[in-house]
């Protein structure tokens, strides 16, 4: 039992240990930022490695904590993402005064996500969700002197609180209607009466808020723009990914009896999301804001995949999130580096980028191509499988809309590429030397972008763990 406990909860335990180590270090010693970063990155690497030890299914604390190979994989993906974010924010953190605190908060949110993913119970889910979002608000404010940063944090915390208010109301209704908080017991009580639909909509809004589904997405761009790049990338990749994992399992298991209803809802929402994300993204000048809207559009595509409600859907989603981790973090890696070293974040600043920084340009370009879904990058495979699983339901209207929206998304990704390669600039970003950690992060990302797609085994493996109905 005890051994099981440690194996089943290994991710959470390790993260907790790291958090307390950092806390103690912060209080007890006076480590330099540099050595702190080395230490943390080392620990995160260990964490990642430890994630691969043992992945049997199991449950603890009376179904409050569930785990299975898929969940382990999901956690590993998040750990990997965390490591990458950590590596690439090194150049920003080096000058920051609250490195340890940053990591504590970051890892707390990661811990929250882990619990959320493993939750077998609405209470655990809620607690995990809050643990993964409240510290994030504080993190969004980590550029302490910047107006935008505090504005972002404010918007985030207000929106988040409001969203969790609605979510809680929904949970309370679910509780009222079913009398249980445990997922496994809940499904049999759900029957699609108006109250259930309403409760589901409220829950959906709560999820939608976290993963930025239109119309619950409005905070996204502002927060992304204002928050430090590291936090933005964290928000856009890890935070979203974790909620997606939960979302799909809640949809596929708890709300399975309402599948017909939520299928249509997701249909509407995905179309709205893709359109809105795309239409806003084409106008953006701030590159973080741009990535925010593009990530909204990506969520739209993910929703399309989710509508497939099959094993294929789950597998494609997890696969896509993995790819998304690599692609989006590669993009954010470059953006973070440029932002940290020069403070420039406008798309127009990237004009003529290729002349001065060919390597960074290629990394960014590959990342954007992957986001756009251009082969041979992994993004192509991810998007292809998502849309394919969406098509499995036979709703070709949705697929056509999604596919045609790819054109718009293609446009704005290429806009950046165009700026990098083709536009002239009076004052291009000067030649930057890439520090070690960000470089490592970029290498990991680019390798991931290329390997994840072309190597069919990755998808096969994920598929073998997935579920559907």
């Amino acid at each position: 039992m005890a051994g099981d406990f440690f194996i089943l909860m290994k991710h959470e335990l390790i993260i907790t240990v790291i958090i307390f180590t950092l806390l103690l270090l912060k209080i007890g010693s006076d480590l330099s930022n540099k050595s702190l970063l080395n230490l943390v990155n080392g620990l995160l690497l260990l964490n990642l490695a430890a994630g691969f030890i043992g992945n049997q299914p199991g449950m603890l604390f009376n179904e409050m904590f569930l785990t299975n190979p898929l969940i382990v994989l999901e956690k590993n993906i998040l750990s990997l993402g965390t490591l990458i974010v950590s590596l690439q924010s090194a150049s920003w953190l080096k000058q920051h005064e609250h490195v340890a605190e940053f990591y504590i908060l970051l890892l707390c949110t990661l811990l929250g996500m882990f619990f959320m993913i493993s939750a077998g119970n609405l209470l655990m889910f809620y607690v995990g969700l809050e643990l993964s979002s409240i510290p994030l608000a504080a993190m969004a404010n980590f550029d302490l002197g910047k107006r935008k940063s505090s504005e972002a944090a404010m918007k985030f915390i207000i929106s988040s609180a409001f969203a969790s208010g609605l979510l809680l109301f929904g949970i309370s209704l679910v509780y009222g209607a079913t009398g249980t908080l445990t997922f496994s017991e809940m499904a049999s009580h759900i029957n699609g009466s108006p109250l259930h639909i309403f409760a589901f909509v409220l829950l959906l809004a709560g999820f939608g808020f976290k993963i930025s589904v239109v119309p619950f997405h409005l905070w996204t761009a502002d927060v992304y723009e204002g928050a430090p790049v590291a936090v933005t990338s964290w928000l856009s990749v890890i935070s979203k990914g974790s909620v997606l994992f939960v979302f799909i399992s809640v949809l596929y298991t708890v709300f399975k009896p309402m599948a017909a209803t939520w299928y249509n809802m997701l249909f509407v929402l995905s179309v709205l999301t893709i359109f809105t994300g795309n239409l806003f993204a084409i106008r953006q000048n701030n590159i973080k804001r741009f990535l925010a809207f593009s990530s909204i559009a990506q969520i739209g595509f993910i929703l399309v995949g989710i509508t497939g409600s099959s094993q294929l859907g789950t597998a494609s989603l997890v696969y896509f999130v993995l790819i998304y981790v690599f692609s989006n973090l590669a993009a954010f890696g470059v953006v973070a580096l440029v932002s940290a070293l020069t403070g420039r974040e406008q798309v127009s600043d990237y004009k003529g980028f290729y002349k001065t920084n060919p390597v960074l340009s290629w990394v960014l370009t590959i990342a954007l191509f992957s986001l756009a879904g251009v082969p041979p990058t992994a993004g192509f495979f991810g998007k292809f499988f998502l849309l394919l699983s969406g098509a499995g339901k036979g709703n070709y209207v949705l697929i056509t809309i999604a596919a045609l929206n790819m054109i718009i998304s293609f446009y704005y990704y290429l806009r950046i590429v165009k700026a990098i390669f083709m536009d002239a600039n009076e004052q291009p970003i000067e030649r930057l030397t890439i520090p070690g950690y960000p470089k490592l992060a970029m290498i990991i990302c680019v390798a991931g972008i290329i390997v994840t797609g072309l190597v069919g085994y990755v998808y096969d493996y994920i598929h073998s763990l997935s579920f559907g109905f």
Partner: protein, 642 residues
Amino acid sequence: MNYSSYIALIPLLPLAGFVLLGLFGQRRFSKSAGILGTLILLAATVLAFYTAYNYFFVSGKVNGVYQPVIALQYTWLQFSPGMSIDMGILLDPASVMMLVVVTFVSLMVHVFSLGYMKGENRFATYYAFLGLFTFSMLGLVLSTNIFQIYIFWELVGVSSFLLIGFYYDRPAAVAAAKKAFIVTRFADLGFLIGILILAFYSGTLDFGTMIQRLTAGDSSQLAQMTGSTFLGISILSWALTLVFMGGAGKSAMFPLHIWLPDAMEGPTPVSALIHAATMVVAGVYLVARLYPIYQLNVSVLQLITWVGAISAFLAAIIACTQTDIKRVLAYSTISQIGYMLFALGVPAYSISSGTGYTASLFHLFTHAFFKSLLFLGAGAVIHFIHTNEMGQMGGLRKLMPLTHLTFLIACLAIAGIPPFAGFFSKEEILMTAWQSNRTIYYIALITSGITAFYMFRLYFCIFWNKPSTHHNDHGEGALNMKLPLALLGVAAVVVGFIPFSQYVPVDGRAKEMTIPISFSIAPVAVALAGIGIAWALYYKENQRPQQLAAAFGGLYNTIRRKFYFDELYLFITKKIIFNGIAKPAAWIDKYVVDGLMNGLGIATTRVSESIKALQSGRVQAYAIYFFGGVIALAVVFIYWWK
């Protein structure tokens, strides 16, 4: 009996010359290209004559009938089983006759050009092009397959283009070359569609098979083609008309004749070869090739008759007013080809004995010699005095005695004065017309008179009229220019005596063709009258021609401006095709189709701009939208969309 071994060389030798001179000529053979080309062609000519000898006198006849011989054939492009473009060599009286004509005239032109084109910048290229043309023309006449003929048809077109545009830096030459190509291309469109129709219904592209299938009385293909109609006209008529359209284009028949006079921008020997003796008669040859099929279709034959007759007449009239000697000759060519065509067509009006066919090809044969002679003579003149304008010539008979003599022979030949070659062939044509349709006969007769008139107008203007103002600085030309004139002069006299109907009859069975002397009186008289008028007007320099022109006034101008055909075409191309179709098409593409695509992009950005207010930056508004979204979803999915 195996002909293939050497007959294939006849077209291939010039081709080899083309490749050799085209690739290396300018660098390696810039001086010797002419000799090289001529020698190659000489070889080809010898082979051609040998073939002709062999065919006509040794082995061509089986049981008294000239058999078509497929000397060589291989599949070039297989469309579907049974339907393929074959490349091959077909020997029958007509093709062998053409073989002789083409090689001989071409050889003459090669030789003549040695002097005429001497010192030209692109001397080797010129010979390369001549080689290409000769190859294409030989390929054309030897075709076994209707698509083969089309292929070489196009190739002669392009060689003609290249040669007309030989002086490429002269805009007029370029324009003429373009015009020639495009007009004939337009005609070829008809040809192509005609081929498609014929091929579809007869199920073959091979001449022999096609003729066999479409002439046999009980053939299902024929029944199908005559049975089905399009716009009230039987498919067969459509097909034959369209094929004839190709022929008419290449032969510069009314109303597609406009390119030929302009084509005179090319070097004069080229005009002699292509635009007088060989390529332009391809139309006649084409109709002759398919004659068994045409024979069965009266309406198309009538069409051919009238096209031929009108061309002959109109061109003759126009020729009377032209002052550029080459243009006069060009119109005369049109006129003579008109003769040949209506000779082919006119038997439609009566039960024919095949005399039209023979007469036409006979005229083709004789015409090749005297017309190329005329052109080469004109070339010699032009070479001598460096102008084409009649007005600047006169009194050259002393300076260019040989040219004068041969030119006179040629003029007499074309005027139909016995015993020159033209007399015999023209008599046969007139005879055929007389037997079939009198209207045509009278038109032909008048045209013949006019022909005599304008030819002698030309002759007098060049060699008599006024005393020469030119001084003899370089003589009449070297041997290489004189020799062809002499040879052709001889030919223009003697070829008329060949009993043509024995060798080139319509069905391979030799016939006797006799023309009573009494019949010849009228034509010869008319011709002499024409010569007489020309003598009266142009023998000496005087004011009568101008007075006459003034007397006719508008009519004269209309004719001199070639009945405003060029203007009409210009109107059609510029105003209708360019401004009416092409411009709108380009406009639509730029503004409508492309505009639609760009418009989609613009619309997207517009929409994007217009909804930006949703992202107002106010967190309270966000919350309201958030809640609005929740309520909307709930309402929709609870009450409407269950």
